[in-house]
Symmetry: C2
Subunit: 507 residues, 2 copies
Amino acid sequence: MTNIQLDRIENEALRNRVVTPEEAASWIGDGMTLGLSGFTRAGDVKAVPFALVDRAKENGFKVNVFTGASLGSDVDTLFAEAGIVNKRLPFQADPTMRKSINAGDMFFVDQHLSHTAELVRSGVMGPIDFAIVEAVAVKEDGTIIPTTSVGNSSLFATHAKNIIVEINMAQTPLLEGIHDIYEPGKQGARGPIPLEKADDRIGVPGIKVDPELIRGIVFTEQADSPSTIVQPDEETKIMADHLLDFLRKEIELGRLDETLAPLQSGIGSVANAVLHGMIDSEFKNLEVYSEVLQDAVFDLIDAGKVDFASCCSITLSDEKMKQVFGNFEQYRDKLIMRPQEMSNHPEVIRRLGLISINTALEFDIYGNVNSTHVSGTKMMNGIGGSGDFARNARLAIFVTKSVAKGGNISSIVPFVSHTDHTEHDVDVVVTEQGYADLRGLAPRERVPLIIENCVHPDYKKQLWAYYQEALERGGQTPHVLEKAFSWHQHLAEHGTMKMEKEAAGVK
Amino acid sequence: MTNIQLDRIENEALRNRVVTPEEAASWIGDGMTLGLSGFTRAGDVKAVPFALVDRAKENGFKVNVFTGASLGSDVDTLFAEAGIVNKRLPFQADPTMRKSINAGDMFFVDQHLSHTAELVRSGVMGPIDFAIVEAVAVKEDGTIIPTTSVGNSSLFATHAKNIIVEINMAQTPLLEGIHDIYEPGKQGARGPIPLEKADDRIGVPGIKVDPELIRGIVFTEQADSPSTIVQPDEETKIMADHLLDFLRKEIELGRLDETLAPLQSGIGSVANAVLHGMIDSEFKNLEVYSEVLQDAVFDLIDAGKVDFASCCSITLSDEKMKQVFGNFEQYRDKLIMRPQEMSNHPEVIRRLGLISINTALEFDIYGNVNSTHVSGTKMMNGIGGSGDFARNARLAIFVTKSVAKGGNISSIVPFVSHTDHTEHDVDVVVTEQGYADLRGLAPRERVPLIIENCVHPDYKKQLWAYYQEALERGGQTPHVLEKAFSWHQHLAEHGTMKMEKEAAGVK
């Protein structure tokens, strides 16, 4: 251990618990539940999981892997390839793991990201055998200072039988002080969460644990995986413009002012593009209250547009990572990083009245949204925080391009093949074609708006034909049940949702 | 005006504004939006709506009708028959109006009951031209004291251009003092809701309005419509026993104690039966934090089982109404009646950690719940508060008998024909066959539990056959999309979901 490393462990007794990743991994047994740090590729542990995968080559075992959200550093890839995961929750975004999940080789529980904490705390999902969390330092009293995400780390560490800390020397020690760890207590024995503004500090700067539970400390020096975000293109820019037009209308109607309301933006290139679109806008003194901060939020900070950003994770491109963490003094007083239970808490989201922008995989003519399942069966990533935000936000906005796969898939379908967000929770839908403001509208009022404003011209007639046939059958929410999934079936059989005129019932 | 009536209006100036229902109704013009008191048949206005219907016989007009929830006194029936409603929200439960809605003769917006307030307050749904609210009295400063429901009355009265008060002499004046009216303020400019226990008082005992806005006061003397609740039968008793068994297991596991957690129970005979089942149980010192209190809650109070009940409405059978309101001194200190925004607020529900019991119309093999749409298209009543509670409760429990229509409909289907509550929000499902605890389970883990524990024996094989075929296709949530609604189609074509062995794919 070098002196620089030594400085990161203030507690004398804990300095004797520094071990190799291999030794730490050897403590983990078959059937155990692991709680790993990591949220959208940020702040994940990078040594013990690898050692665990190596162990799997010698003797087989299965563990349950709970995290904040998706992991970087190929950990989920390697876990899936090694076949050591029994159950994974609450979110993943790994192509290899996705295959294992969809093949039924492992269980994946797709949870609202604010819900995992309640289930662990109440003993429904417990116990956590090992919490393994990345840190920049461990303090004298055992307090763990997280790195670039909090996620569920504080939950896991305070509910685990054993804790393994990975101190990552590649993470800037300036991260200390930006975290705000708040524990709400048990349901039925807790008070209000005293958070009224995005920049309110309500907790403590690190995760307080009994030092005796820290069984081992491992040193690493490896940067977070850069985000895989695709930069804005022509279409995402157009979508951003539509959304900004909608927000301007809200200002005209006196429902918002130029500071808007705290913004939440889900992971993904479209949501990122929308925030990018604000750089050259008239909006100002913006605040962000989100899960993950992507490049665009820091661009907005640099442009003087965003005054403050609350998050539970920072996930940046390679270039942006260097700029932000290389000059972190500039950003520290504009950031708070919270547990995902707080960044995504319905109480706070409803109180602050967020403007929430998330990505849909598909939505239907009534505004129901599928965020997760390709053709209703195959898991993409997971619902993540989109439900936490959409249900409670002032404005629940879902964005998607109107078509995918070279135009062979329409993102707007007669009936979503899987429902993650119901018509009750979806306020505005946006594609590159336009937007539909669904608030206060009955199902039959929503359909013309959605078809005319959001659907790609190639699919308008086909969708009108479905709706006309449905209307003849009547109902609050007219449908032709036997044709509800005909577009998905046509895609499976013919590689496109574009049907022959006859088959689609176009008259 | 009699002296007894006079006593109910403390403000001298307002005494001069007593009018006939006909005169009040004459102020209402075409295209206006009305905000009516009334929640689950309780505390609805009973004179002006009738006069309005009479006016419609002479000249046609359309109004938007916003309420708390369902109305009694046949108001929705008469409104629908008169054809005067353009848009109705956020809930109804009237057979005649249901027909109009499903025929497309009027618009119905099916909203989470806690959401209407935010939409009106932020100006998205406004303006309210006339708030028409039932009261037991109007105080010197114009404060309106509601009757047997609060619902959205305070919201409407404080956001209306004009207010009409119906003082109902048939409602006991002892109701004064049980209401707790709290206004959270605008999103982004509000603090925490300071409610930590079911019996916390956080507001004022009446609706504070500018007396100048009270344009007229009408006197009525007509009891609330009695509830239409069906008394517990053998099957609902068995379901109650299953649910009590589940709660006992939770106690054994140390997750609850004998006082359980504040209970919410949706309207309906099954939910009522479940509460009834607690009368002879070991549970004690129970609390209720619900929307509507039905007979069973008062039986539990009488039995010394329930210490306190918070609600936004009291809806009783004829007999129980006489007992409760005839002896209201006995109950007053055990009750608080709040606006539905507070009874259903996600912040409070999550904080208190409610046990929430609501009725499903159907659910599927993965635990998605349809609460509203018969065969996916025809509206029954509406989602009501079930979504507010299920999403945020400690335990989101849905109950339904396993079959309906003499066994020709299975309440558990391959794919719900409409989704109101997603798998993410449903913890436990209960039928007379048993219960399935779905918490922390992946979709593939849920299916065997649901089929074996909840499905009627007549449908088990058929459901297994569907799932086996789906499994061959794989996925996180295996389905055979082209057969997903085959049970509903078979019902439409043959009057039963029971299929020939061949057609159902049973091997």
